[in-house]
Amino acid sequence: MKALVKIMPKKGVLDPQGKAIEKSLNQLGFSQINSVIQGKLIEIEIDSINENDAQKIVEDASKQLLANLVIEDYEITIIKDE
């Protein structure tokens, strides 16, 4: 099974990288773009027979290592094998 963990800065946490990207895009002429936030996407392969177990494993991994809850929120998507 596969899991995607999307990690984004919490609202109100300074995101200087997002701001720099936004500025660059504006300079390139993308004047309609008025906010950019940069996060991370982590793709994980898990040996797990069911979705609930997979969700729990990735949830634990996110809390223990992948995300820092002081500054980041995470969102998990489980993708079943075809």
Binding site: V13, L14, P16, Q17, A20, Q64, L65, L66, N68, V70, I71
Partner: protein, 229 residues
């Protein structure tokens, strides 16, 4: 007195801090590889600066989960002195031994220069050799030194006098202009509530030898020595 300096893959200030410790404590610290499961008996543990694990994921996040860290967390909770400098500070926040975290510098640039700091708490076990509100000069060298915590945490550490150093200018002015990296309220170094764990972004170990330029870090190490004795 026994001192351990923890060495992670990517630590690069471990030797510098060992030299400073030897100068002040008159003994060689033990250099402890991060994969060790047991820590030699230690009265002081130092997590040095550097780029442990290449700063992958988040600075200090991998090192915080190194095998040796569970021993260090136990020691810290039992009152052993712990100093985390730069990457060491980042590791201490990732283990939750210190509150908050360190994010990318506000202006996205690596800062490497000597900066004035105000000693905000000169009563701590790490700073009592300094006089109240003394302005000292200590080198900084970091890309992720922007101290962040939520409002409640900031209020708590300020109310309890846990902020030991703040960035300022030569006259001691603390404001946005004298804030090099965007840290909340110019915070450069903090201690925990029990007062045995300190984290700071500036490098006192680079300011203990006149030949190298600065000497203001010496009182920091002497404070620690006297507190342990």
């Amino acid at each position: 007195m026994e001192i351990s300096v923890i060495v992670f893959p990517g630590s690069n200030c471990d030797r510098d801090v060992a030299v400073s410790l030897k100068k002040v404590f008159k003994r060689n610290p033990k250099m402890v590889w991060h994969k060790e499961q047991t820590l030699p008996k230690s009265d002081l543990i130092v997590l040095p600066g550097g780029f442990s694990y290449g700063d992958y994921l988040r600075c200090g996040s991998m090192a915080a989960n190194s095998p040796i860290m569970s021993e260090i967390i136990k020691c810290g909770e039992n009152g052993t002195f712990i100093i985390g400098i730069c990457n060491g500070f980042q590791i201490l926040t990732e283990t939750n031994l210190l509150p908050g975290t360190l994010i990318r510098n506000r202006d996205l640039s690596f800062i490497c220069k000597n900066l004035p700091l105000k000693v905000e708490n000169s009563k701590s076990r790490f700073t009592h050799k300094y006089s109240a509100n003394e302005i000292i000069e200590i080198p900084v060298a970091h890309n992720e030194g922007n101290y962040f915590a939520d409002q409640k945490t900031i209020k708590n550490i300020e109310d309890k006098d846990l902020v030991v150093f703040r960035y300022c200018n030569k006259d001691g002015i603390i404001n946005d202009e004298t804030n090099p990296n965007g840290s909340k309220n110019n915070i450069a170094g903090i201690i925990n509530e029990q007062g045995n764990i300190l984290g700071m972004m500036p490098h006192p170990e680079r300011a203990t030898d006149k030949v190298a330029g600065l000497i203001d870090g010496e009182k920091f190490f002497i404070s620690v020595l006297e507190s342990i004795q």
